[in-house]
């Protein structure tokens, strides 16, 4: 099957600065793919290359088999972009913004009007259709950005931090909407700061750090690979220091020596329990927390930082 997005050995400079270095990955049709990384890691730059907003110096980028440079008209028709920053036409109303954008994509105006009506209703913007974008609230602008990207019914929807600065209710509604859209077959490529968002939505994630790909796995695999269950033991009596035998597996001693925290891997639980039993330390309560994508992400980025 031809990948929806295929990036091979992509390298991009901003003058002397290497913003992306030899990045490669594929996104399959129908996938919900999360692209994560700290600020300035190269997420938006990668998106800009895919959508025609940035040039690049080396590598190949294909959208459903078409090259984004030589076959740019085909690739751009397949993508809907929801950018991070508002970039609306200041001379148009909300409704015109949608209708004109559809027009640029070759949608006849009668059809564009119909679709604009549907999307304005769907995103609760119908009463605001005659207003210029400056008169919309932050959440309304964000919704208009998404509606604009959907006007030509793209096969791939690329969202760059779609929920940044968005209130909780809207965030949940957007998640629900994106899940539905993905269920209907649209490939979704999402970057986000909210790791929880990626964990809830994305079946697979890629992590980019300082312009290089540092992980590319199904979300669940990445979590498991990077982090075990987090175990917390509440002790009946405080402990002054972590016993030597288990210092390697653990360990953080918290709450004035009443809580022992560690990560479950290589049979650490058995080891710790045995040691505590031998020393006669009794346990009041045990909490086990599943690791999250955030734990995995933090660990990955920290290990990258250490490596320099």
């Amino acid at each position: 099957m031809i990948p929806a997005i295929s990036i091979k050995n992509l390298t991009k400079f901003y003058r002397q600065f290497k913003a992306i270095e030899d990045v490669s990955f594929d996104v399959e049709p129908g996938e919900f793919f999360g692209f994560l990384g700290p600020n300035g890691a190269g997420k938006t730059t990668t998106i800009s290359v895919m959508t025609g907003l940035a040039n690049y110096q080396a590598g190949q980028v294909h959208i459903f088999g078409h090259d984004v440079t030589s076959d740019y008209r085909k690739t751009r028709a397949l993508i809907g972009l929801v950018p991070q920053e508002f970039n609306f036409d200041p001379f148009l109303t909300a409704e015109q913004i949608l209708i004109f954008e559809a027009g640029y994509f070759g949608i006849p105006s009668s059809e564009a009007k119909k679709r604009a009506h549907e999307l304005l209703e769907l995103f609760d913007l119908w009463p605001k259709r005659q207003d210029g974008y400056k008169r919309l609230s932050g959440g309304q602008k964000r919704r208009l950005l998404i509606a604009r990207a959907l006007m030509h019914r793209p096969k791939i929807l690329i969202l760059d931090e779609p929920t940044a600065g968005v209130d909780l209710e809207l965030r949940y509604r957007l998640w629900e909407f994106l899940r539905k859209l993905n269920g209907e077959g649209t490939t979704i490529f999402l970057t986000t700061h909210y790791i929880e968002e990626a964990e809830r939505l994305c079946s697979r994630v890629g992590v980019i750090h300082q312009g290089k790909m540092v992980a590319l796995d199904p979300t669940e695999t990445l979590i498991r690979k990077m982090s075990g269950d987090q175990v917390e033991l509440y002790l009946k009596k405080e402990m002054t220091e972590v016993p030597e035998e288990i210092r390697s597996v653990a360990i953080a001693l918290e709450e004035k020596g009443r809580k022992l925290r560690f990560e479950e891997k290589n049979n650490a639980v058995a080891e710790v329990l045995k040691t505590l039993h031998q020393r006669g330390i009794e346990i009041q309560k045990i909490d086990v927390r599943r690791p999250t994508l955030e734990d995995a992400f933090m660990k990955l980025i920290n290990s990258q930082m250490k490596r320099g």
Binding site: Y14, T45, S48, T51, G52, L53, A54, N55, Y72, R73, K74, R76, A77, I79, L81, P83, E85, N87, F88, D89, P90, F91, L92, Q96, F100, E101, G103, Y104, F105, G106, I107, P108, S109, R148
Partner: protein, 254 residues
């Protein structure tokens, strides 16, 4: 035909843009043309001797129309593109499947539409003072279209190089306006001292004004085919350069 929808939409967007700010884009040239025609042509002009056997007022009108074609098309495309870069809504366009050729041509035709509205306004104002049928209407249209497209291209090029709004008016103040004035809007090359005449021949604006005068009045200082050729060559060069800059994404793509 579906392929042309995008192109037509962008032309229409350009028209909506200049109409939505018509007090800045349409009124000023029409009002100032009234002042020029009334003061220079009608009042002062009566004291000036005939040029090529026509009253000065007749002589002035084609020059003024050419001046507004040049200024109007330059102003339209330069501000439209610069504002799009500045507000970043140029990205709305760059992610669409329109070809670079279509993007550039559509913006130029938007500028042409504004120029046609302005020229119609200036011509109507001139009818208050003097009425004469154009000698060669097709020549008038030729110069209207190609001069407008040429200066719209120049406006787009300057808008790409410009970093601030002021840079757009620098070109108007220091290059376009002086060249238009020296190009003979208000005077004939016959009035220029012999030693400076050859300099006028290097000024492309001279051929535009002279060509428009031929179209409206039927006489010119140099041959009409020469003027037509100069403006056509200039158009091809500037238009190709604009498309090329879009193609390489000069100051458009990161």
């Amino acid at each position: 035909m579906r392929a042309l929808i995008g192109f037509r939409t962008l032309v229409w967007r350009e028209i909506v843009r200049f109409l939505s700010v018509f007090t800045q884009t349409i009124f000023p040239p029409v009002v100032s043309s009234f002042l020029y025609i009334f003061i220079f042509g009608f009042s002062l002009g009566q004291k000036i001797q005939k040029i090529h056997d026509v009253p000065y007022l007749w002589f002035l009108i084609p020059g003024l129309i050419m001046m507004y074609i040049i200024e109007g098309s330059y102003a339209n495309s330069s501000s439209s593109l610069f504002i799009s870069r500045w507000a970043n809504n140029i990205e709305e366009l760059l992610v669409t499947p329109l070809s670079y050729f279509e993007m550039v041509l559509a913006i130029l035709i938007g500028g042409l539409a504004r120029t046609i509205v302005i020229v119609a306004g200036v011509y109507l104002v001139s009818l208050l003072f003097v009425r004469f049928p154009p000698a060669h209407p097709w020549v008038v249209f030729y110069f209207l279209i190609f001069v407008s497209l040429t200066f719209s291209s120049l406006g787009m090029i300057v808008a790409l190089f410009a970093e601030e709004f002021e840079h757009l008016s620098i070109a108007t103040t220091f290059v376009i306006t002086p060249m238009v004035f020296f190009g003979g809007v208000f005077h004939s090359i016959a009035m220029v001292p012999e030693a400076l005449k050859w300099l006028t021949l290097f000024n492309p604006m001279f051929y535009m004004v002279d060509g428009m005068r031929y179209g409206m009045l039927g006489f010119s200082d140099v041959s009409i085919s020469q003027s037509m050729l100069v403006i056509f060559v200039l158009f091809v060069i500037l238009f190709s350069l604009t498309v090329y800059l879009f193609h390489i994404g000069f100051k458009l793509r990161k």
